[in-house]
Symmetry: C2
Subunit: 97 residues, 2 copies
């Protein structure tokens, strides 16, 4: 039984896709694929509260899908891994059918 052999990998894989499996998070990732953004700008673009976005960014950062740096009063977030773009692109291919 192959999935038993890959037990841990498949668990991690589910955790990875879970990150893309929420409307808010995938919107955040999608925006960050186009340009790096501060938390308040993300919140404004997605029409959500700063708190909600900040909570999701924390989860995305823990999963190492986004990274951040301070710039004055703001924290600028950006995509941490090129795989984010390719995973979203591949998913889009599937949707558009």
């Amino acid at each position: 039984m192959s999935s038993e052999k890959y037990e841990n990998e498949l668990y991690d894989l589910a955790e990875l896709f879970k990150m893309f499996g929420d409307s808010t998070r995938i919107k955040v990732l999608f925006e960050l694929c186009e340009s790096e953004l501060a938390v308040c700008d993300l919140a404004e673009r997605l029409n959500m509260t700063q708190s909600a976005i900040s909570h999701q960014l924390k989860i995305l950062k823990q999963s190492k899908l986004v990274k951040s740096r301070r710039e004055g009063k703001s924290i600028i977030y950006s995509v941490a891994d090129e795989h984010v773009r390719s995973i979203i692109a591949l998913g889009m291919e599937h949707i558009e059918e």
Copy 2:
């Protein structure tokens, strides 16, 4: 704001990745990528109840990621879309780093 333009696509995309974002479902998909299987065989391989697997298969079928056919007393499930394989493969690439 780009994500607003793609509002519906991103919602569907999240729904797609949600399917891959559960340990049980991704194990099922992974097994089915290797060979088509009856429900009871899947349940045995994953060491889970027939009911639990059946419930998840229903969800996967609604999402059009798996298909099924009857063969005697059994229902044989298989992957419905080649994208399933490529999405899992791409995710695996990300994990193995």
